[in-house]
Symmetry: C2
Subunit: 306 residues, 2 copies
């Protein structure tokens, strides 16, 4: 039962020879959510041996090129590979105007349907759900409209303790409501509290993606209790004025959001190309939020089922 985040790109606007622009894949219970899609994402997907055919939902935070220039190449590759399932893109609405002239040039037309889902930049919104997972967008604070994304497992039903079925002679038609939290009254009229009858389900796990953004406390409130947080840290505090000017975060900003959100683990990324050494980022962030890692392209971060 996976929650695995694979970093495909961890640079900011200028890619380096080591770091691709922003892209990552979240494997949440075998749903493969692609989050941002900078130039070269399809190459990184291939290198990290993620099946193209598994990607059905793509989330684009904002329309700066380092977060979406890889989209047309990926769509073209899907087409060439004969992938024919629907593709859903959650993005600022203008993406369609940018992509359409390029899609019109694809050999032999598009072999599948693309559904564009425009993001809401005013307030958090449920943008995706299926039986076991859900995804929300929420506003960030950047120089253009930009959203973060929160992905989480839906709460599961408790498991019934098998020995209780015999012991209390529970009929089959009662099992569903007991799994959902009901107590049970035996034929003798004894009431058996639910916690004696069930094994609690694992806690639903969650992941939040915050890039690009200035320090923005409402984020911490919305993602409260998140297990894994990716938050951009384009600069260290030494370049505070640059962070303020460009509406980006420092490593300290990212760590403060993680602490305020009560996050389990923080991964920072979107590093400015001026930095070769990430040690100052980690030092700065860990002083505030010890469980911090610096993103590396190709690295996977997992949250185990509790």
């Amino acid at each position: 039962m996976s929650l695995e985040l694979t970093i495909l790109g961890s640079s900011s606007a200028l890619p380096t020879s080591e770091r691709y622009p922003t892209a990552q894949v979240l494997n949440l219970l075998e749903r493969f959510f692609l989050i941002d899609c900078g130039e070269g994402t399809q190459i990184q997907i291939r290198r990290n041996k993620i099946g193209f055919g598994k990607i059905k939902n793509i989330f684009i935070s904002h329309l700066h090129g380092d977060h979406f220039y890889g989209l047309i190449g990926l769509i073209s590759t899907f087409n060439l590979l004969g992938i024919n399932h629907d593709l859903h893109i959650y993005s600022p609405s203008q993406i369609k105007d940018i992509l359409q002239p390029q899609i019109d040039f694809l050999k032999a037309g598009l072999q599948f349907k693309i559904f564009f889902h425009p993001l809401n930049f005013k307030k958090p919104q449920l943008i995706f759900e299926d039986k076991k997972t859900e995804a929300y967008s929420f506003p960030l604070r950047h120089s253009i409209n930009c959203c973060g994304f929160l992905f989480r497992e839906k709460p599961r039903e408790a498991n019934i303790r098998k020995e209780c079925i015999d012991q209390f002679q529970i009929p089959i038609d009662k099992i569903k409501e007991i799994k959902q939290g009901a107590d049970f009254t035996t034929s003798n009229g004894d009431s058996i509290p639910n916690h004696q009858l069930t094994i609690p389900p694992p806690s639903p796990r969650s992941f939040a993606f915050c890039s690009d953004t200035a320090f923005h406390p409402p984020v911490a409130e919305f993602i409260q209790g998140v297990d894994l947080l990716y938050h951009e840290a384009t600069f260290t505090e030494e370049l505070r004025s640059w962070a303020d000017k460009t509406l980006h975060s420092t490593a300290a900003d990212a760590a403060k959001i993680a602490r305020m959100a009560g996050a389990g683990k923080l991964v920072i990324g979107h590093f400015s190309s001026r930095y070769d050494d990430l040690a100052p980022f980690l030092k700065e962030a860990r002083a505030i939020f010890p469980n911090t890692e610096a993103a590396h392209d190709g690295e996977t971060y997992s949250i185990e089922q509790q």
Copy 2:
């Protein structure tokens, strides 16, 4: 005095984990010509330590995505780096309609001018020249309009033999015409033939780029005597029917063009992603044209001054 071809990408439509889509840089006498610009080209330029600021002319053979999807990322990076010289793009005319909606989204607008030069798909055409070099486009045969490119040094003047200036008392105002081929008549009325007075200039070197194309003999005629030829070889003869169907070449086709053109050296590339091993390509091509190499990303091929 350079003629150096650096391969940035040697895959065909689908990039692999080892091969980027088509792009290469020709350094011809310190002019850096970028030829095609597949996704990830800017990353490969950086890896190969080619200065972004040196690239002022970009040649796009055709509008299949694997030959131009890296263009918008490169333009965006030029902009972020503060490059402010003009950029010339030689390409099918529709490139402008594809790029403009993306350029309109660049932060703070474009800081330099882009000049679009539409290609002619009916006949060869001089598309670029400066004092020492020139470039021609010529039609290839592919599923959409597609051009190859021929780059060459302009012929240089001969050097005058310094000892002759004293020996025959050549006045300064005669030197220019002697360098251009004139004989010289001494004050005694003796005619000294030009070849006694001059050292011949080095032969002008040339490079031709042919991708994507089916086997197309008129190409060989146009690039006759080329020193270095890059020719696509998407398949081996085993997949002859695929080559015919998709209007691509086999390794044998590429070698035949090299032989017909009397080329000095052949580099083949644009390999289909279905091949891991390139040995069969080399075997097939070398049987026809022995001086053949298989392109590798990051490899540089040089032609020395003769």
